[in-house]
């Protein structure tokens, strides 16, 4: 590919896989996103940072189809995306997690993760009903993939636990597992480390880096904590009051005066 680059730690970053062009999103009088453009390249970890209420989650919701912008275009794999429902976008290989965690509380950890494989089940109803041939092979393959992700994220010990009973940090991890098991092309993570203790944060950082490194998954991640972002990401978009105020590699962004002002001017935790 023409615009391929190799990072310092030896990962290959390819061409643009997703591009947001002049996105504007309003809720009544509130402008959550104001004319923002940026791109995401294949294989990179792309962070979106900014103070509370900057519009980060809104941007992720636009990317995953949960919100529909009034203006602007989304380009995915070289094509302009027509307006789509969130489930259609998920089926195109864009998986996500939520800032406030959206899991199936009534199901076990394993069952939650298995829902991430629903779109890899192609056998028809009859084949499933009599549990024959294709249906059985698919189920075995899906189960194997789920177990692989469970091992990868080190949650073997809770595989049968109902998700509703898990502590917050583990729920976040299960949500990541469910997104990951779909083998997405792009993984959108909304504050994956929020509300975690230091140790849990370190684990989560390691998982995110490993996912990117081992599976080559493109990751877009929202994070509050500047330090974490600088360590993790290849490139950073900075938002403030719905506007983009910075975009570049971590060192560039850190040196940007507007970014410094935004972060000093706003109290954040």
């Amino acid at each position: 590919m023409l615009d391929q680059t190799v990072t310092a730690d030896g990962r290959t970053i390819g061409g643009v896989v997703m591009e947001m062009r002049n996105i504007t999103l309003r809720f009544g009088g509130v402008i959550a996103i104001k004319d923002i453009s940026f791109d995401v390249r294949e294989g990179e970890i792309r962070a979106i940072i900014g103070p509370n209420g900057a519009g980060k989650s809104s941007m992720l919701n636009v990317m995953s189809g949960f919100y529909h912008p009034q203006e602007g275009e989304v380009w995915f794999r070289g094509e302009k995306r027509r307006p789509m429902r969130p489930y259609q976008i998920a089926r195109q290989g864009i998986a996500r997690t939520f800032q406030n965690i959206a899991l199936f509380d009534g199901m076990s950890v394993l069952d939650n993760i298995m829902t991430g494989r629903l779109n890899h089940m192609k056998s028809n109803f009859l084949e499933q009903a009599i549990w024959w041939g294709k249906a059985e092979r698919e189920e075995v393959a899906n189960r194997a993939k789920a177990e692989e992700v469970i091992d990868f994220l080190e949650i073997q010990s809770i595989r049968k636990t109902p998700v509703g009973r898990l502590p917050y940090g583990l729920k976040k991890r299960v949500e990541l597992a469910r997104a990951l098991v779909a083998e997405p092309k792009i993984l959108l993570l909304d504050e994956p480390m929020a509300g975690m203790n230091v140790e849990e944060k370190e684990d989560m950082c390691r998982f995110i880096l490993d996912v990117n490194d081992e599976f080559g998954t493109t990751i877009v991640l929202i994070e509050h904590d500047m330090g974490v972002v600088m360590d993790l990401s290849d490139r950073v978009v900075v938002m403030d009051y719905g506007k983009k105020i910075g975009d570049g590699v971590p060192d560039e962004v850190r040196a940007n005066q507007e970014v410094i002002d935004a972060y000093l001017g706003v109290s954040h935790d």
Binding site: R91, A95, F104, T115, L118, Q128
Partner: protein, 328 residues
């Protein structure tokens, strides 16, 4: 006295069979409520509509015949031959699936995110609309339904119990068939929701809409699916009730009996609907048997509600629901 006891046992068993009926209707409610939060007031009318459609197709009658005749001046009534029961049932299932699709497409798709009370009102509208459509499609006469289920008193049980206790139990073959069919239906439904892709999607949507969307599940698809299943359950209920008492408008009133069943079993629990239905069925039969004669009878009309109310006071979450503890 033992005679009284045996008589009470017989009454309980017959109550159990009525309970199966209530359980089926309650099951239809639970399916839709779990997946969409819609309390479907039309569930009883759906049973009526399904039974009317089945009889109509079986007898080979032309739907909307009256309407067609008065508009075109023709005199159509039947296609001239009867349609075998199995084929008629399959066609009716197709009609119920079509109905589910229409309901979703025309009504509930446009009401996503509305208050539960609005959705409830929409189902009331739907109930009366469907009642009108049934009437227009098939006419309002009482019809007898016979899909070949065994009828009459079961001699084996009569003989067997007579030999054992000196008192023969009168149990209708139809009731036995109904209980077996209902048990199979429930087993199939549970297997469906546990082991198939569609069933998993259904459980996911019942649990969390956002999460379901994020793993690529279409809410619309699942809603059409649950309305279809509720339609099929309604058809089974309609067949049983219709075989017993004929197909007529009072059939839609069994929905009213499903209400106390739901109060007892909880609105989101399939086992709750089954056990609740059986308890109400047996409870009201026994109460009528024991207390009815003392207070002039007809206790079936209200006893179920009193039982459910008493239950609500002590266990508001229903039989199998989890206790809600408010966090402060």
């Amino acid at each position: 006295m033992p005679d009284q006891l045996l008589f009470a046992a017989e009454v309980s068993i017959n109550g159990l069979m009525t309970g199966v009926m209530y359980a089926l209707v309650a099951l239809g409610f639970v399916l839709i409520y779990k997946a969409s939060g819609i309390f479907n007031y039309a569930q009883g009318v759906m049973a009526l509509f399904a039974a009317m459609t089945l009889v109509g197709i079986q007898e080979g009658r032309v739907p909307f015949a009256h309407l067609i005749n008065s508009i075109t001046g023709a005199h159509v009534s039947t296609v001239g031959f009867e349609i075998p029961a199995i084929l008629a049932i399959l066609l009716t299932v197709a009609v119920m699936v079509g109905f589910a699709w229409l309901v979703q497409k025309v009504v509930f798709k446009h009401l996503v995110g509305q208050e539960p009370i609005i959705l409830f009102m929409a189902t009331i509208g739907l109930a009366y609309f469907l009642e009108g459509v049934s009437d227009l499609m098939w006419g309002s006469e009482i019809r007898t339904l016979d899909v070949g289920l065994p009828q009459g008193i079961n001699d084996a049980i009569d003989q067997g119990t007579f030999n054992a206790f000196g008192y023969g139990f009168f149990i209708d073959n139809l009731d036995i068939a109904a209980a077996i069919i209902a048990a199979i239906l429930v087993a199939v439904l549970i297997a469906f929701s546990q082991y198939t892709k569609q069933g998993r999607a259904m459980r996911a949507v019942a649990d969390d809409h956002q999460a379901a969307l994020s793993v690529g599940i279409s809410l619309n698809y699942v809603w059409v699916l649950v309305w279809s299943l509720a339609g099929i359950v309604a058809l089974v209920a309609g067949i049983m009730w219709g075989s017993k008492s004929g197909v007529q408008f009072s059939l839609s009133l069994i929905a009213l009996k499903a209400l106390p069943v739901l109060m007892l079993g909880g609105f989101t629990s399939i086992p709750g609907a089954i056990v609740g239905g059986l308890i109400i069925g047996v409870g009201e039969a026994l109460f009528e048997f024991a207390v009815g004669p003392l207070i002039g009878g007809a206790t079936e009309n209200w006893f179920a509600y009193v039982l459910a109310l008493a239950f609500l006071v002590f266990r508001p979450q229903g039989l199998f629901g989890e206790r809600i503890i408010e966090r402060v």
